[in-house]
């Protein structure tokens, strides 16, 4: 059975992929290695895990204003997450996928969900994201 979560479009795009979820905020600079796409903040619960090609679920961004540049670089070297799902996307976070679309023509869809829907996303689920519509479909059987 499919479960459909409805939220808001931040940056348009569509994708399907495996969820990697955390309840902790992420700073991409000082948090994600731009060469490998792996979390390199030793205090983060996703430490050493790779976010490339995954649907990355975290509540909101934090920290460095270089986050947007690291997201752009991840897109340039094809190591970006397939999509980003937040509760709130602050300007620094949104800038990366926006510039990536305008400058490299590469899509990183971003969607925000209310807390209740956000919490239904768990690592390992398979989801389809349609950012324009603000929709996240959980494919796995419930």
């Amino acid at each position: 059975m499919e479960k459909i979560l409805r939220g808001c479009c931040v940056v348009p795009g569509t994708c399907e992929g495996e969820v990697i979820a955390t309840s902790q905020a992420i700073s991409f600079w000082g948090g994600v290695n731009p060469l490998t796409g792996c979390i390199n903040d030793p205090r983060h619960e996703l430490f050493d895990q790779c976010i490339s090609g995954k649907v990355l679920v975290f509540p909101f961004g934090k920290g460095s204003s270089t986050t947007s540049l690291i997201i752009l670089e991840l897109a340039r070297v094809n190591k970006a997450p397939a999509a980003i799902i937040n509760m709130r996307s602050e300007p620094i976070l949104a800038t990366g996928p926006i510039v990536s679309k305008h400058f490299y023509g590469k899509e990183i869809p971003v969607v925000t969900l209310e807390e209740e829907a956000f919490k239904m996303l768990k690592t390992g689920q398979n989801v389809a994201v349609n950012a324009q519509e603000g929709l996240v479909r959980i494919r796995d059987k419930l």
Partner: protein, 420 residues
């Protein structure tokens, strides 16, 4: 978004491709945050000036090639290297070449070569209430909170767009209604004595960022005579552990002359507290190398002020840094000129302290230095140290850093919050 006639001409490409690209990126960001129009800013601070990855260089060079020009006074954040003392900093040729290309692109677009992450301590300092567009998380939080200027947390790339347009979408912290505190943090049991140790400020900042997340926060209980450099350290740490663009310190920062003023008469959504036990815990969490002996002591994150240099030279004068330790101090070109003129630079060099400009201890050319553990008095630097440099890290006060470097033996003082 509603565009003016001039903005429409920019959107149509009549003013060139660089402003067109800058406007389409800005408009998409603005629409996302519900902005209805663009607004003028008086100055921009560009964080994207550091060469770190090729995407940043490609973006800057493209805009410069397309004839992009700053529309308002624009300062530059750090470089990846000391652009003048790159030999002493052991910069490899490729990093030198790419940092020079970055410099060339930004200077071609008309930016001012300030090369500092503490632009609020010299140069183009905004006034209270001034609408600006700043990048660099520590500088954003400082400008909003300590000065009361108004900027969103602008990310790299968006900062360049703001500079080329002299405009940003009107939303967020530019608007007074979004600047009220939503979270209130009380300091519970944090005594006056604890504030005599400067190391408390970055630790408090680190905790405040964690607790506040992405919300505007007010902190009650910080002494009114807190020094600007302490607020700088607090701001940098808070903006590293949280998405803190604006904090209020009751009785200290300009929009919080009273608690009621920063809450705008409303109740906070959340009331939290910080205890001495939490400060001690933050210090331990930041010091992932525990008591391992550092081979690098690095200060100046954010860049040292002149006052911080007078403190450093007071602690080091007539003494020598132990040969087992490298001691780096980072600052801006402006402050470097001042310490050179008054002899501090020479005193520091005689003690074995290496002073660099432009650069950042979190970006040093690690292939040509072989450190294992860094010690720093910066909460921001300690927070990002492992992920950015791969080094273990020990957090300590400036006194601890200097004593460790001189003795060649790890020294951590006994601040009062460790008794809990």
């Amino acid at each position: 978004m509603r565009l003016t006639d001039e903005e429409r001409r920019i959107a149509n490409g009549e003013k060139g491709e660089a402003p067109r690209l800058a406007l389409s990126i800005s408009m998409e960001l603005g629409e996302l945050f519900g902005a209805e129009e663009m607004m003028q800013v008086s100055q921009v601070h560009i964080d994207s000036s550091v060469y770190m990855v090729d995407a940043g260089l490609e973006f800057a060079e493209r805009l410069a090639e397309l004839g992009g020009r700053v529309a308002v006074p624009t300062s530059l954040n750090i470089s990846a290297i000391d652009l003048e003392r790159w030999e002493a900093y052991r910069v490899p040729p490729e990093l030198l070449e790419k940092s020079r290309r970055m410099e060339k692109a930004y200077l071609k677009m008309g930016a001012t070569p300030t090369w500092t992450c503490a632009p609020y301590q010299q140069g183009m300092i905004p006034r209270f209430g001034e609408q600006i567009a700043w990048g660099e998380s520590n500088a954003i939080a400082f400008a909003n909170s300590v000065i009361g200027a108004r900027t969103n947390r602008y990310g790299d790339l968006m900062d360049i767009c703001a500079s080329l347009l002299g405009k940003v979408p009107k939303f967020g912290l530019h608007l007074p209604e979004n600047r009220k505190a939503e979270v209130l943090i009380h300091l519970n049991g944090v005594s006056k004595e604890m504030f005599e140790d400067n190391a408390i400020y970055p630790l408090l900042g680190f905790l405040v960022g964690e607790l506040a997340g992405d919300q505007v926060v007010a902190v009650e209980g910080v002494p009114q005579d807190v020094k600007v450099d302490n607020l700088k350290a607090f701001s940098a740490a808070a903006a590293s552990s949280g998405a803190v663009g604006l904090f209020h310190i009751v009785g200290v920062t300009p929009e919080a002359q009273s608690l009621d003023m920063c809450l705008r008469g409303l109740r906070p959504k959340e009331i939290l507290e910080i205890t001495p036990r939490m400060i001690q815990d933050a210090e331990e969490r930041l010091s992932i190398a525990k008591r391992k002996m550092p081979d690098l002591v690095a200060i100046g994150c954010p860049h040292l002020s002149f006052i911080e240099f007078t403190e450093l030279v007071r602690l080091t004068k007539g003494k020598k840094i132990n040969p087992s330790v490298t001691f780096w101090a980072f600052t801006s070109r402006t402050i470097y000129g001042w310490i050179k003129n008054c002899g501090i630079l020479k005193d520091l060099a005689d003690s074995g302290v290496m002073t660099f400009t432009d650069g950042c201890p979190l970006q040093y050319p690690h292939e040509n230095w072989h450190f294992t553990v860094m010690m720093t008095n910066s909460g921001k630097c300690a927070n990002y140290c492992y992920s950015q440099t791969g080094l273990g890290v020990v957090f300590g006060s400036l006194e601890d850093c200097v004593t460790t470097a001189i003795q060649g033996k790890i020294h951590r003082g006994n601040p009062p919050w460790r008794k809990y």
